[in-house]
């Protein structure tokens, strides 16, 4: 299956928008959050955990967090990677 650009979630309050763009470079994780001081580290560790479980090593994964719950973040990341065609 071809890997393609994907997005999941919204920019609305208490949600998070996760997007994935394929590239040939090493995986780059970009985190933007309205509460980055409190949550930046948690968001990044969730992303690292999920991408390493799936063996995602290339592309750009961008997270625009609007204060989402951790379970919401996890669901959005899993969905974005599914939609990109990066299934387990």
């Amino acid at each position: 299956m071809d890997v393609k650009t994907s997005v999941a979630g919204t920019l609305e309050s208490s949600d998070v928008m996760v997007s994935y763009s394929p590239s040939d470079s090493d995986l780059e994780i970009v985190v933007e959050s309205i509460v980055v001081k409190q949550r930046g580290r948690l968001i990044r560790s969730v992303l690292e955990e999920i991408t390493s479980n799936r063996g995602v090593s290339k592309g750009v994964l961008t997270v625009q967090d609007r204060g989402a719950l951790e379970c919401t973040l996890r669901a959005r990341v899993e969905t974005a990677l599914d939609r990109a065609g990066l299934t387990l």
């Binding site: 393609k4 650009t5 994907s6 997005v7 979630g9 919204t10 920019l11 609305e12 309050s13 928008m17 997007s19 763009s21 394929p22 590239s23 933007e32 750009v60 961008t62 625009q64």
Partner: protein, 329 residues
């Protein structure tokens, strides 16, 4: 509760026009997806996706900060991505730039009257890395051409440029909205200047005369032309020229087309203060006409092949003859 839906009725489009004008925004031209945010039957917000450019985003003043713009943008991004787009542009007023940065957009460039932002990858920094990789490390010249199709006028301009700079980049407009497709235009230029050893022909990419940087170039006109020209040239001077090492831009004089005339004038105003010299070369003439691609297209449409022959190099002539054969078949 606001509800988002696509605008289809002409009364809805009329409301959209009113909302945009009340917020001091021009109504985007072109076909695309037009979204509306409704409270009951009342349109309170709108945003459009035309090609890969989000524009015409406006919300009723009393609902600003209520998340209407955010839901419009979320929805436009999701739809664009589901159509296979990984990179989007957004056109707005400079005063609105900040609020879009909070939605994950990054600024490309800003001039009085317009800001261009982008979302997704590959973005301007990726494009600049690509340019850095081919930069010869010496001061260069640049020519930007559409070549629709490649004429003796273009050939002459590029030849003069190659004598006026150590290295010259010829950027062929990549946007496929001209009579002749990009792949053909690019090949003809490349073959037509192959004998000039210090000339490199490259695609102009999404940041030089594209439907994002200069939408009115392709629609020929509109009040926003000079704002777009200024935006396009500012991007050239601040983002494109530096990684390539371009210090001089060559351009043919424009006695006929008013839009290109405006572009040349704004080029001479915009580039020098940003460190790029502009060299305007008097266009060559054939008989009483200035050699131009639009003249060639005009003659082609009237079947005046004999006159076309005098205006184009061999490579273009061979291509046009082949094309005419195919069309006949």
């Amino acid at each position: 509760m606001t509800e988002l839906r696509e605008l289809v009725l002409s009364s809805e489009l009329e409301d959209r026009r009113g909302l945009l004008q009340a917020r001091g925004l021009s109504v985007p031209t072109g076909q695309g997806l037009m979204l509306g945010a409704f409270e009951g039957d009342r349109l309170v917000g709108t945003g459009s996706l035309i090609g890969s450019v989000i524009q015409g985003v406006a919300v009723e003043p009393e609902l600003e900060g209520e998340g209407v713009a955010v839901s419009l943008i979320s929805s436009l991004i999701s739809r664009a991505v589901s159509l296979g787009m990984g990179h989007l542009f957004l056109f707005t007023k400079p005063s609105e730039e900040r609020s879009f940065c909070h939605m994950g957009f990054s600024p490309v460039a800003s001039v009085e009257g317009a800001s261009l932002l982008e979302w997704g990858r590959p973005g301007i920094e990726d494009f600049r890395s690509g340019l850095r990789a081919i930069a010869p490390g010496r001061p260069c010249g640049a020519v930007v051409v559409n070549c629709n199709p490649f004429t003796l006028g273009h050939r002459w301009l590029i030849e003069r440029a190659s004598q006026g700079a150590e290295e010259v980049f010829v950027m062929v407009v990549e946007e496929d909205r001209s009579v002749f497709p990009f792949a053909d235009r690019f090949r003809l230029v490349k073959e037509g200047v192959a004998d000039l050893s210090n000339v490199t022909v490259i695609p102009s990419g999404p940041y030089v005369i594209s439907s994002a940087t200069f939408p009115t170039y392709f629609t020929k006109g509109g009040e926003a032309s000079s704002v777009h020209a200024s935006l396009d040239l500012t991007i050239f001077a601040t983002k494109i020229a530096p990684p390539l090492g371009v210090v001089r831009r060559f351009v043919g004089s424009e006695p006929i087309c008013p839009l290109t005339g405006i572009y040349n004038r704004i080029m001479k105003e915009t580039l020098p203060p940003l460190g790029i010299e502009v060299v305007e070369l008097q266009r060559i003439e054939s008989g009483e006409h200035v050699v131009s691609a639009s003249l060639v297209r005009d003659l082609l449409s009237r079947g005046e092949m004999g006159q076309v022959r005098e205006l184009v190099p061999d490579v273009t002539w061979a291509y046009l003859v082949e094309r005419a054969k195919k069309i006949k078949e």
